[in-house]
Symmetry: D2
Subunit: 292 residues, 4 copies
């Protein structure tokens, strides 16, 4: 077992839908293939970008299997299995492991705000049922709960919780985590506009939907940081900053779909209530992409 | 069709689970019956209190049917049918109507923050498929989107969107709504600690889990306000204030279950990851209930 | 000594300036007189409305003396003496007492966020130097520190700290204070849009700049509440709600000055950097005042 | 005239007080000298660290003169002249220029929230009265107003507003500013825990109280960034991170005074209501300093 299978650019594919708003598996496979051949170091289906919460159990399973089939082990896979109930989280985590995923990502979704003890018990219950590593994901904006560094420390004592993904958008938090948890803990950045700062702070990887539109720039940023070349990293970062800001502000699935179309790629449809960007927003994105 | 079927105390039952965390329909019916015979003016299954987001489609349908069967038309029913996707929201809204619900409640659940246009289209799509009235529910803390008064105005133009439930916890918002939307629009308060202020501001009803534990006090508050007796209303409100505060702070399903047990009633189990209150919290609740 | 000299409507005069932005004492006295004869139950110079922080020590002293001279004991006076340093707060508190003020109001101004112990020591140091009662004022938006109910409890143990003014704008806080501190503690509402809710919650008075523009409506609201007439109180409140909202949103000194001019009264100039409302804002205010 | 006289480490001295809480000019000069000889690239009296808002006009003038006398042109000086009123801001800005300051720093202090037009008029009025450059300072936590990038753009059109200091603590804001305002605008970081990220983002300097305690580490961080050595910059930053976090959390004047004492230096007294750190806090700081 590889405890920390990820580093570099972990790409998040969107989940495309057909005209009847059903998932479009062949198109999904195409999109995954694009991410692989353009150099991403890992792939993460069923994230926020992949509108996981909008899918039925069967659809999630189909996306999981399609990913593993398409990737064929070329790069590691990180499958999102978060669910409001512990029982469903276990179900999807076991499914992902059996399908061949390298790791699962779990955010403590919480309609009712969970206590620290409830969160630990939740992760622990899932961890006991699978053997692949778990990335614990902190994103209060979507989960409704902000996991403190001391809670993350508790989670890291569970043997297969080996990675942390941080998306508070606050770089101070990342500095704090790195200090508090030590250099050995693998932490990942999930906030696109923080890409440069997070790598500078020591993040092992960047979980991002940006490779759907600008795969080269994301990889080049990582490489510049790996080389310790601050000036080059800064230049590459500012080159893509407007795009990162745009896709975050407009919502990743909507923005990525529009961007793919601008690039001449098929992006499929969105599932209601999500609607395409407005014409004005598409024009704005076109200008950003053209000027890259 | 009765466009605004609710006034007074609209009671929210919890959804109890058995030892294997499956929904316990007989116990649920008992809990509903308690709410009816203790004087609630309406009943609202599948709300936050009823942990609706933690239930499967089949479970939601079973709870809907059990409610209608148990109520037998004695008081009006308001069924929660919110869902992240428009398609599933329509599904549950139609189910509720066919089962005999008097109205449905819809909050714009939003993993990806919805634009105003997306929200209007969402409500409109559902409204076209049913004939019973819709209560639009604003609660940014759980939905992630704060519907502005101008957006609510747009929603109220959809013929069967006839009621607004406000749970921002900000009484100024309620004053503003009442001024902006006019006296004729039926608005409801969903924030327990604001019960007195909201009635004072003109709320037509109070959507609350409190009747599970203190049915008389909630009804008496409403009656005092109806009589225009400010002094009495104030006294009754302060009598129950600590309890309202406690159940909100600890989470309604967990607090109501604990409170039922303290009262000698069966409350069933919670579904993981939700866990019972700690012994210390239960003791605190016991003290509050004892001193009422 | 009267420990709690205030109830009802405590009116806050603006501090008017002449063409050279110097304080205009004769005009100030006129404005104070208007407040007295239109029925206010108390008067509070050197509040936020009176732009106290923009005045020099000498100017504050002149305003204090002008108030006492003009009021001539007809209604009680509450003089603002808050200052960043303890030494200056004591200076102004002693000056106010010697000038004949009935009480002083103190907010813990804090450029550097104060600890609870620092706040208690600050109030205590001032309290020991004067014999008149102190109103402790909580308004995190301007002071930068939110005094918790437990801190307020500590302050109330200082013999001449006898009154609390709450301006968080959160009615739940007021309910909590009333429950926590007991019915005997005199608390006052400083948030205009909460006027109805605060009186309903048990506030003894309303600290407000509104009497500069609508003295009758503010007094009528208080009287309706005193009579326990909820329906009447509600009507009177909604009548003035738009004006309360407007003056709060635009800033009290700027809005009151504009309103006085609309009413045909002299309001003086503002001190830079504060500028008059724009023409569009003045028009909006005119419409609100005309439709009262 | 040098339009942008600062780069690197701009050190903020505290203002020490004697036993009677009067400013201690000889000790202040000693503290300034320590900052100069330990390598700071600029010095900034009368900042937040220097408790400027707690000083009288005369005291501010004495501190300004003492700084210029002690520095003797060895490094550039940046004098804080912010004031609630435009008139007093002009007064202190003119005083600083006449005393020989290289630049002044101005934050739009605002008891009453200022509009964009009021802020522009405020800076413009001051700028017209002096010839030395102005650093516009954005720190919503202390000023109560968050100057948007578009407002900063407007300010930069005023000829001698040539520098921006950003202290929102949000690195995304700094990225945005740099993109929006262009590479030529000199922006400075005022948030200690963001030191590494801000330099990485292109900040020209770091405005900080840390050199009072760890002058070498702050200069080394700047040098590592100048060399483009990311790995070294990261190591030096993490070495001082706990100290930066501590002094920010405890309040700069209180923490710096305690730190000086731990280092065996005289730090003077604080002015009430500010009180020394508790023994436990001092012990915590001692541990951080010892382990550097």
């Amino acid at each position: 077992m590889n405890n920390v299978p990820f580093k570099g650019i972990i790409a998040y594919p969107i989940t495309p839908f057909d005209d009847e708003e059903k998932i479009d598996i062949p198109l999904f496979k195409n999109l995954v293939e694009r991410l692989i051949i353009s150099g991403s170091h890992g792939i993460a289906p069923l994230g926020s970008t992949g509108v996981m919460p909008y899918l039925s159990d069967e659809e999630k399973e189909a996306i999981t299997e399609a990913t593993i089939q398409q990737v064929k082990g070329r790069i590691p896979t990180l499958v999102g299995v978060s669910n409001l109930t512990t029982e469903r989280t276990i179900h999807h985590a076991k499914f992902a492991e059996q399908a061949g995923a390298d790791a699962v990502m779990i955010i403590p979704m919480s309609y009712w705000k969970l206590t620290d003890d409830e969160i630990v018990a939740h992760y622990d219950a899932v961890a006991q049922k699978i053997s692949i590593p778990i990335m614990a994901y902190n994103n209060p904006a979507t989960s409704g709960v902000d996991m403190s560094p001391s809670l993350l420390k508790r989670l890291l004592k569970i043997p297969n919780v080996t990675m942390i993904k941080e998306s508070t958008g606050d770089i101070q938090r990342m500095h704090f985590l790195r200090k508090e948890l030590g250099e050995d803990v693998a932490f990942y950045n999930g906030s696109n506009p923080l890409a440069l700062s997070a790598f500078t702070a020591g993040a092992k990887g960047w979980c991002t939907a940006a490779p759907n539109l600008i795969p080269e720039l994301t990889v080049e940023l990582y490489n510049a940081v790996e080389e310790g070349n601050l000036q080059k990293a800064k230049e590459i970062f500012y080159q893509q900053f407007d795009l990162l800001k745009f896709i975050v502000n407009k919502g990743l699935p909507r923005a990525v779909k529009a961007g793919l179309n601008i690039l001449g790629e098929e992006g499929g449809n969105l599932r209601s209530p999500l609607k395409p960007l407005t014409d004005k927003e598409i024009e704005e994105l076109r200008n950003i992409i053209t000027s890259l």
